[in-house]
Amino acid sequence: MLKIDQVSVRRGSSVALEDISLSIPHAKTLAVVGESGAGKSTLIAAILGLIKPWKGKITWAGAAVSSCRPALVMQEPRSAFNPVLSLRRSVLEPISAQGTSVPGERIKRLCDGLELSAEILDRRPSEVSIGQAQRVGILRALIAAPPLVLFDEPLSALDAVTQKHTAKLITDLRSEEGFAALIVTHDIGYAVAHADEIAVLKSGRIEEVATARSFAASPQSSYGQTLRDAAISLGALDTAA
């Protein structure tokens, strides 16, 4: 289980995250929604240990998070890959690093679920569309069956149909393999449909944490309400959800 305990993070002279407490058990998904620039990517960096919290602690099963080799799906899909390597080489890198072999059926299953033709993996990052690169990023994150996966806007470049297939693959694998997932997203419809819990972040603070169902029915914070209503008015969520 991932535990974020009263964490505050400073960036320069300002406070980027203030007194954040969250936890994600095995096989559960927490969606973090909120304002552009609220500190969502900072939270991911802090979990990965790339930024040191000024106060508080982040642990995985009581130990440092790095001990579980968490996987990350980056927000900027194409630049997440080495531009001169084929996507296949980049995808297989986490496996080769562990010295284990490459399960062909696993790659096939993931590619099918992500609606990627396997041929795409032989190209370089600049030779695929941004939505394709985003899905290859998900493939790379999930390939070695990590216990903790951090997703930064994993569906932001995808159309509605591809979003649903991709979301389903992530959720299916999570229940089969039991990884804990943290998903940063602007898409309230996605969060409600696929997360167990939703945390609303605004200006570096948590406004509310609720189960997806109760958030959809009645957000407790006024910012949560605004976000949910925006999703309804865009047609991404039902009023009666």
């Binding site: 990517s41 159309d159 602007h186 039902d238």
Partner: protein, 227 residues
């Protein structure tokens, strides 16, 4: 001025990724380009921009990834000066303050390089650069993909206000039909490198004709229709 391109196409690694496409864009047009991931939307956007620029038209572009527009080694201030210079404007003559305030990025530090700004802020900075002048066409490729719904709506409102009263046409490339429904009057649907459907937005949303538009409209809502 009416913009015309004909026979646009693109091949990469021996594959045709854009089949010959001709378009006519009237002044003040509001066009949405939708389609599944990889259907060729960005490719068409790039080909259209290159062709129109070669014809001597002015076209502003907000690429899908801010990385395409921002040099990682240059400060944000440098990018802004370049954008003014490209339009033949004196440095500092564009109304940066009003644009930045409306886009809620007035707090960004212009001395920093792109990675000193969040991805959503970079996206809005690139939109602000595209709004400096009055081009014949502005092409926006997924301009709100890194923005929360509230900021996304505010950004699109600014764009509407900005275009009001100008002859500038807009092409909005988006995967978000909810966004398209509110912002464009015509939709073009792409599939496998071709425009397969083109009609008034309301008509496509209510009576989609092709497989591509049917599945895109059917899956708009997260709760309806499992895949």
């Amino acid at each position: 001025m009416t913009l015309r391109v004909s026979g646009l196409s693109a091949m990469r690694s021996g594959r045709t990724i854009l089949h010959p496409t001709s378009l006519t864009i009237e002044p003040r047009a509001r066009i949405g380009l939708v389609g599944t991931s990889g259907s060729g939307k960005s490719t068409l956007g790039h080909a259209l921009i290159d062709d129109l620029r070669a014809q001597g038209h002015s076209v502003a572009h907000v690429p899908q990834s801010p990385d395409e527009a921002l040099d990682p080694l240059r400060s944000m201030a440098f990018h802004w000066r370049e954008a003014e210079w490209a339009l033949g404007l004196q440095p500092g003559s564009a109304d940066q303050k009003t644009l930045f305030t409306a886009l809620k990025i007035a707090g960004g530090d212009l001395r920093k390089r792109p990675w000193g700004w969040s991805r959503g802020m970079q996206q809005r900075f690139v939109i602000a650069m595209a709004l400096i002048g009055s081009p014949d066409l502005i092409v926006l490729d997924e301009p709100t993909s890194a923005l929360d719904p509230v900021v996304a709506a505010a950004t699109m409102d600014l764009l509407d206000r900005h275009l009001e009263g100008r002859a500038t046409a807009m092409m909005l490339i988006t995967h978000d039909l909810g966004l398209a429904a509110r912002r464009v009057s015509t939709l073009m649907v792409m599939q496998e490198g071709r425009i397969v459907e083109q009609a008034p937005t309301a008509e496509i949303l209510e009576r989609p004709k092709t497989r591509a538009s049917k599945s895109l409209t059917a899956h708009r809502n997260w709760m309806a229709l499992p895949c």
